[in-house]
Amino acid sequence: MSSVHAPRRVSARLRDWRSWPRDAAYAWRRSLRFRTVLLALGLSALAVLAAFVFMALAIQNDLFQSRLEQVLDDAARTTQAAQATLDSAEVGGDLVAVDNLLVNVSTVARQGATEMTAALRSDPASPLAPQGFTTGGLTEDYLSEGLRTSVQAGNELQWWQSVALPDGDGGTVPGIVVGQQLQVPEAGSYELYFGYDLADASQTLSFVQVTLWIVGAALVLLIGAISWVVLRSVTIPIAEAAETSERLAHGDLGVRLEVRGDDELATLARSFNAMADSIQSQIKDLADLSLVQQRFVSDVSHELRTPLTTIRLASDMLNDRRDAFDPATARAAELLHAQVQRFEVLLTDLLEISRYDAGSVQLEIEPTSMAQLAEDVIASMQQLADQHGSDVRLIAPGGYSPVEMDPRRVRRVVRNLLGNAIEHGEGRPIVVTVDSDQHAVALGVRDYGLGMTAADSERVFDRFWRADPSRTRTIGGTGLGLSIALGDARLHGGTLAVWSALGRGTHFVLTIPRHGSELNGASPIPADPGDDAAFDTLGLTQPIEIPPADRREKR
């Protein structure tokens, strides 16, 4: 259906003739109506062709036969008249009389329906017999050997043959030559030929044929048009159903098909509507469930946080006074204090995660400079970096102008990435990169620690996942940090990508699209840092040799 898939202007389509085969193939593949109409056209053209060829042949045959009968009749009558003239004549060996006889015969013969006659002497050797005559251009050249032999041999019988006769203008027309023996007294046998042209019959035939072809072509086009119109009544509801399903698939759950009548299309519409009803109710159930879950999360949050606050206050108080306790009780208070804090962090992360799961997180967007934010986070974690001997460097070629984001969440992501880098950076420098383009702003955190295998780097965002459970955690982490960071990135419509290589370290890249932009996979900072040549100028990178025994995952 060119009207559906190719809204290009007709002139453009005509100019672009090279694409026609492709367009046609596309239409064949995509349009039921196009395909069916084309098939109907092809098949009916074939049928019409066969029927009409048969008809044309039959008509041609019939025309020829009737003309043949007519000319045979005519020839027989004329020959008979000529023979009668000859039979009644008295020549008495007078050559002149024989000549006159032949003139008479020629006159009689010309009373037939044709101008073309010829009388030929069968036995050229006979000395008495005068030359025959030819009229109307029917010369000996038009008479085949076979015909003449048959006429000479076939006593009193009519013979005929289809030949091309001269039309008087130097051309030829289809015609019939009829021949019969004529007995001329004293002169022996002559052959009398009549040439009948078939011009009239041929004209009639070509008129009939032209009419047939025109009618045939019109019939084929009519069939095409009819099937086009008939298919419209089928394909339009189907196209409607397709469009409605698409809208349904895009989340417009309220759409329904109009049910008309009681036919198959109405059944289709009814089943479709029943399916849509069922989907809508199920999605509503799920939404209700999600609402219940959200409320549950909120309730759990309140219910757990209140007693935790009491515990927290109490443990803090005990911890502050542990100097007054005996050593064992003091240590107990200390442990209580530390674990309550850990519990609190874990609870916070868990609640955050379940909020993502419930889809109840809302961003608080304000324009924020990513470069400034990175600087703030680095400053706030300077102490931790110093403890691990890591030098954190900021390279910010771009990303200064404010971009719409939820700064609290982005700050949390950056803090998390930087914390990981410090923990796994083996005391080597850490490079934080901030850059932007017209679509997005990105922040990369690169450490030059042990790195991970590709298989492990695929799992870093899994909840509670640790590559090496035996590794002690120096910075308290819940195992949910990267999972939350990924959730935060996605909430912004952005991405959090990871690149890691054993011995070369790890590179996390957070990319956040600018307002109104969409990420199409590209980030201002590629996750794969390439060959580290750029960082080498900073004197940072020396690949770490990992002893084979220690080659297992370290992150």
Binding site: P307, L313, P367
Partner: protein, 226 residues
């Protein structure tokens, strides 16, 4: 002078624990576990500060906050388990000066309370002008002509902070530090909501502010003196 603090919380264990913490720090405490009775207890006790749980049986914290605000500018700090945007903003809009998210530690609680209770530095007899307002700092009084505009201590402090440096543009972070006593990144919604409340009281047309003007992308500054 010992400050008296009203703790409105239905969780008695937490209320008691908060009481212990506060008394250790030298505060006097009053408790109320019932939302419906909270406003009456407040009227009877006239505390210097109210610690108010946002979720209470009966009348909820936001309602109590609104009722107290209707009568007084007493500092109110909300305790909330919810960090969801809507709850916190509703609490602040109903007049709470500050909020603390559970679970909190005692130092944080005490720091927040002390900030709200600290006497504002009052250079004696100083009078500031901001827009068409006169701010008498020592008398804690704001006037437009002869009309006195009632502000809560926090709103007053916010206005004084802006008026004392008329040429200065204050970022939200600076105001959080100066007025709320936060020395780290805190919730800038505190500033936004309270600027709105302040404007509603002091501006002739809050939609077209002339006293506290917004500097887009940066923060706020005092309007020109007229």
């Amino acid at each position: 002078m010992t400050s008296r603090i009203l703790v409105v919380d239905d969780d008695t264990a937490l209320a008691e624990m908060i009481g212990i913490v506060l008394r250790t720090e030298g505060f006097d405490t009053v408790f109320c576990a019932d939302g419906a009775a909270a406003v009456d207890v407040w009227r009877a006790e006239r505390p210097d500060l109210v610690l108010l749980d946002l979720m209470l049986p009966g009348v909820d914290g936001i309602e109590i906050c609104t009722r107290i605000r209707a009568e007084s500018g007493v500092p109110i700090i909300m305790l909330t388990a919810r960090t969801d945007t809507a709850d916190v903003v509703r609490g602040l809009e109903s007049g709470a000066d500050d909020y603390i998210v559970k679970p909190f530690n005692p130092k944080e609680l005490v720091a927040r309370i002390r900030t709200r209770l600290r006497p504002t530095a009052e250079p004696a007899g100083e009078t500031l002008r901001i827009g068409d307002l006169t701010v008498d700092v020592s008398a804690h009084e704001v006037r437009r002509g002869d009309e006195v505009i009632a502000l809560t201590p926090l709103e007053f402090e916010l206005l004084v902070a802006l008026a004392s440096k008329p040429q200065h543009v204050f970022s939200r972070e600076m105001l959080l530090e100066q007025v709320w006593g936060y020395h780290y990144k805190a919730d800038t919604r505190l500033v936004n909501v309270h600027v709105q409340r302040l404007r509603a009281k002091v501006e002739l047309d809050p939609d077209n502010p002339r006293i506290v003007t917004t500097v887009r992308g940066v923060g706020y500054r005092a309007g020109a003196v007229v």
